[in-house]
Amino acid sequence: MGQQINPNLPLYNMIHAYRIMGEIDPVYFDQAFQKVVEGSDALRTVIRLEKDEPRQFADPEVKGTTGLLDFSAEPDPLAAYDDWIAKQKQSVFNLEKQMFESFLIKIQPDYWIWYLSQHHIITDAIATGLVYQATAEAYALAVQNNLDGPPTLPQFVDFVEWELNHKQTDRYKQALAHWEEKLEKEVPETQFYGKHVPETIGRANRNPVKLGMERSNRLREIAMEDGFAALSLDMSLFTLFATLLATTIHRVAGEDNIRIGTPYHGRPSAAFKKTIGVFIEVGVLQIDIEENDTFVSLGERILEETFSNMMQVQPGISTPKMNQSFPVMLNFINGISGGFAGHSVSTDWIHTGHFEANQAFRMQVTDFDQTGEFTCNFDLSAELFGPNETEWIKEQFLAVVDTLIADHTQAIGGFSLMSPSQHQTLFIDFNATDHPYPKEKTVIDLFKEQVGKTPDNIAAVRGQDTISYRELDERSTDLAHQLVKMGAAPEKTVALFMHRSIEALIGIWGVLKSGAAYVPIDTSFPADRRLAMITEPKAICVLSNTAELQATVEADVDVPVLLIDRHGDYAQDLGTLPTPPAPDNLAYIIFTSGSTGRPKGTLLTHQGLMNHIWWCKDAYLQGEVMDFPFNASFSFDSMIATLFLTPITGGKIQIYSEADYARGLEAVAIFQEDAVDFVKLTPSHMSLIADHVSGTERIKVLYSGGEELKTSLATRMKEKFGREIRLTNAYGPTEVVVACTLHEFDPEKDTGQAVPIGRPGYNMRLYLLDKYRQPVPPGVEGELYVSSDGVARGYLNRPELNAERFLDDPFRAGARMYKSGDMARWNEKGEIIFAGRKDNQVKIRGVRIELSGLETILQKHPDINLVVVDVITVTDSAFKDLDHDKKHLSVWYTSAKKLETADLRTWLADQIPDLMMPSFFTQLDEMPLTTSKKINRIALPEPAKSEFDANQAVEEPASDLEIQLAEAWKSNLNLPKIGINHNFFEIGGDSILAIQAIMQINREYDIEFPIPRFFDSPTIQDIALVIEEILLEEIDSMDEEEIMRLLSEESN
């Protein structure tokens, strides 16, 4: 029993306050209500222990005394009443003594309020109406001094007997079986605005939404139409309200399988309709939304379900399981109050402020006072519905109501729940981005113009080596002529298998000038991937910048491989090129991880590139000339601004080559050298370089992209700089050219958990749409679609995927849009908040990875049977102060053989780029499956533990230094134990964690650990040796005095 579990909560109290607009005699009133109580065994019910068992019985000693309060002398009687009621509604009954309380309150001589609170054990809505009417009748008789004779209402005890017999019938047993079977079906959890329904009793707020007379009248008319019309007006109205509510849940929570709890009066015969007591039973409407449902087709199914419920909801049938099985409840209350002693009455139904567990909200439709106007009381869980969510659910429900009223035959997915003003702000104004750009030109034209202006400026630097604008232009033109001779032309492709280098810049411009598109391949990519990236786009040749790279790729393919040496001689063939690209020709192809394991190439055109760069020029540079670093793989598109914005504006590219720096250290070097103006990093990298920014003077823009940027990290970066810098955040998929939004971080205004992604750039439109491709209103999850001139042509050789992802923009004739798979919602400030991926694609350190793609690859391993790949977030890390979640890929598999993780890694390294290498591999005896025989991801064990227990021998650390390092690594890598012989990178470490580990060593021992030595031999044993070596060297370099001082400090 709930009240026993929560004895101090008035959760189950039903409170009504009847405002009587006329004079009432409190003496007669008291007599009248006493009479009613005397005549109702239900009202006199108490619960007492008998032989340790709680038993209900009617106690003749319970009297219906009414307390009298007079607020009419107060300065503000109604305010005094409100204060009183706020306290009174929290009062809890002693169930052993009495389960109701009654007060008569005088506000004015001709304005009285009757306050009646009853425990739900003894009453329901119909019974409350009966108590009210009986009291009104008795009052009328009392006034005439005619209050005699026994009460005529049937007694509850008769029903108790009836119910006992009924429970023995077949009909009852069949109904029990019906519910058992019905509740068997698993339905997904319904979430409102991305929040979980609380599992414990909580707070709630009641929000009455008055529909107004016009709406109420129209609803009554529509209730009589096909689809909703049932055999009584009440049933028809119930069906209509259930249809409105189901549609609202479907559109707001995005759920197709909806359960709505609904109380039935449960009175089995006409006689019991006059009995005071609790008869109410709760049934469950199981509503499955179907494709192309209209209000009418949905109403028809709900009506059928309602009839089924009416047959199966029998007295005594409700079980706790039934009561916990629905997140939303609809209560259509047809009880009425009526007048009192000839005075008009208005009824307040007062909520105690407490709420059942496992429920999000209840909608209680009432018209107590028979005005003809419906009130929809939204009782909302306070944990789930804050002030914003409360407004949203009300206005979104009303949007559904008004749409149905406008045309009740329309589809339930055919409209947006946005209000007109939201539509204006979040859809029209947000996307008012039309802006001119040189549509007839390509970036080559802009580069040429810049060469004309600043021929002697330095275009790029790598170490000591520089190249001028003129030389970059000439060498690339010369290369273009060579390529044309080899067959390069618009719509042909040339692959670039090159380090980040001056040669790579010559290569890119050379390919573009020849008319062809370039396909950039990272030098760390494995052979299979390289091969696919050269053969799929049918590259006519490959460019490389070292003999070694040339040899590597020549072994793969039979197309020519050209070696570019910027110091070598060249033909100086500078004539006009015969086949320059047109704006609609292909400019480059970026390969990303694909769901089949095969990377997919995105085809970007010159027009898209031009539109993007033209916007970047204004949005990034804001009228300045800036130098950019070339510090990340050009195989992903994050370097597009560096590669194309710098050369068309007179800036310089500072090259941080993978040939010159260990992976992950380029970013550190940028801040140590401080030789550029604009730095683009993923948040993962940003947290890494946080300690290096304080000494910089030059860097003025820090640009975050590729992953969600936490506000805490952004704030910390600003603080670390300790001077004015611009910190910008961006969003955009490769398929629409790098990025389509920008936001300048403002610590004063941006106080949410994540920094907003900002507003779309020139000629780019960002839509947040639901599955019906309707714009979602605030709070509701939608998928991001990007429409722009820059939308890619599609993926290379993937017609099916193209049809799914690249669509005609339904909101703008002639435009195309990309369906991103990124889920998000609008917040109350009109900002976009991310809500994860729709598919199982993930981003790790800014790189997109399709989990199913990795699974497909692993499935090809000869010894692997079942395999699943997922992302785990390592929160228990020593670096949690870095304000960035540590996401790791983790693999679980089954195999008949015992497999070594190291062997698996080696095998996988030949198939995927190392950025995609999972951190954890766990062999399982058996794959956990769900009842529907799918892999049960929730039941997968913690990865690290099982890997170590099962697969690795541990060599325990011995020296103090080793023990300290082992502790730190265990914490960083989230491992239960670690051996001094384990390779950091084979037990979950990656380059970023490595840099962090090095920094930690530097702090801990106050040394400068030589970074390459970490990468040379990343085991605890060897790193401890290096630390010792450095410490000894330091001591050697000290004189006697310093050593003595140090020793004395130690001993203190």
Partner: protein, 82 residues
């Protein structure tokens, strides 16, 4: 007794007296008259099933089948012969 008579009699006895109404015609709209509420519908369905040895599915409890006494008679006769 014909089906029409039997059903009319049941409705009169069960609902009309309760409602204080005098009479009901075979083509009177039961829904609009407010004569039968949801409890009444269930009582009526149970009665028709028991009396005629038929099983009425929830999807058959439609306005079309239950709008008037005549439509109920038609529906019941189809069920019996079907």
């Amino acid at each position: 007794m014909t089906n029409l008579e039997s059903i009319s009699e049941y409705i009169t006895a069960t609902f009309l007296i309760d409602n204080g109404q005098d009479s009901i015609e075979p083509d009177d709209n039961l829904l609009l008259s407010g004569l039968i509420d949801s409890l009444g519908v269930m009582q009526l369905v149970a009665h028709l099933q028991a009396e005629n040895g038929i099983k009425i599915e929830p999807r058959e409890v439609t306005l079309k089948n239950f709008k008037t006494i005549n439509s109920i008679v038609g529906f019941v006769e189809t069920k019996i012969s079907g």
